[in-house]
């Protein structure tokens, strides 16, 4: 099974953290629901071309946070995550994206007002 995980080469965020957050985002958005199987550590390592040690670390953190469950010999599955948690996670994911956008804007030397105007303009476009 392919997970739509895209690792960023330019981010300073450690890879295992990126994986963790993206899987959390997939769960929050409902793309992964309770009981869905996750790829094995080796398979995901091959697909993302990173070491299985990194994947194991991300999976362990997710399991510790109660997002996924591993059962011996069967594999790893999405755990039951309550609605509140999902909302928090969704907010976090959005926040993360906006933060990235802000950082890009800063690189292009946009002021706060300019950024806010840009966001408002985009929101208006969306409505139409």
């Amino acid at each position: 099974m392919n997970l739509p995980i895209r690792l960023s080469k330019s981010s300073r965020e450690p890879i295992y953290h990126q994986i963790e957050n993206q899987i959390k985002a997939l769960i929050a958005s409902g793309q992964l629901s309770t009981g869905d199987p996750l790829p094995s550590i080796r398979l995901l390592a091959k697909e993302l071309e990173i070491s299985s040690i990194t994947i194991r670390r991300a999976y362990q953190n997710l399991e510790f946070g109660g997002f996924i469950q591993t059962s011996q010999g069967k594999g790893t599955f999405v755990a039951e995550v309550d609605a509140d948690m999902k909302t928090t996670m969704a907010n976090q994911a959005v926040e993360e994206s906006i933060r990235k956008a802000i950082s890009t804007a800063r690189q292009h030397e946009l002021s706060d007002i300019e950024i806010i105007h840009l966001v408002e303009a985009l929101l208006k476009k969306e409505e139409n």
């Binding site: 080469k9 330019s10 390592a45 299985s52």
Partner: protein
Amino acid sequence: MTLPLTIRNVEKSIDDFKLKINELSFEEGTITAVIGTNGAGKSTFFKMMMNLVKQDSGDIDVFGKSVNGEDESWKQLVAYQAQTLIGCDPFTGEQLRKLMAELYPSWDEQLFRRFCEKLRIPLNKKVHKLSPGVRTKLNLALNIGKNTSLLILDEPTAAMDIPSRNDFLQFLLELMESGDKTILIASHQADDIKKLADYLVFIQNGEVTKMLEKDSLIFSYRLFWLKEEPPVSRIPGEIKRTYKKVILSNQPDKTLDYLTTHNLAIADEQIPTLEDIIHEVLMEGEMINV
């Protein structure tokens, strides 16, 4: 628990070539890629682990047993694939299968058959009638069939076509799923290393490096695209500069510190590709400090 393979203070001289390994331990369930230029000593390194080449000094233990010792039982736990399949010319694949199945208690007939079918390996033809590519495939089929705890592969994908290579990687991953297998693989294919390896070991100028965790190694390097050319010829951490404004650093934090304090704007930044890092290590003699 005994480790699949440990090496301590091994030295070997052959004519004017010298190979030195300080200390390496391989953990169960991991895949380690051994990387070096042609003639760097990868094959000699592997052959020492199989007691085919005898070290001048130091210890090599496979599952806790010295490879030079009287007790040769450790050999049943290791499948070793040399670069070329020699001495098998007059035999057919089927005859070789019979030999391996008898010698290795862990032989997995079903796995072997599946591999041969998938890669379309003819078992009734004599080995000397097979093309080099098919010979390599047969060799791989036999080594995968052995289903041993430790698998040592010396450039297994060198003569293989792309679809077969993918199938082969798939089979290796399947083997690894059980979690109790350990693989050492020498390869010149960056793709193999990216898709399989957990750890990297470099051999350079006869020295074997320690085990480097692949992702930590990659993350210890960073490429910075600057908006303007820096005023000094070498900034902290810099190991290479291209197009005057692209800095490759092996100490990203230090470089970043310098750039911020000196108000040098970063246009973009990225971790380099594995190929770039391998190039730096092997060709430029970049010292590894992870």
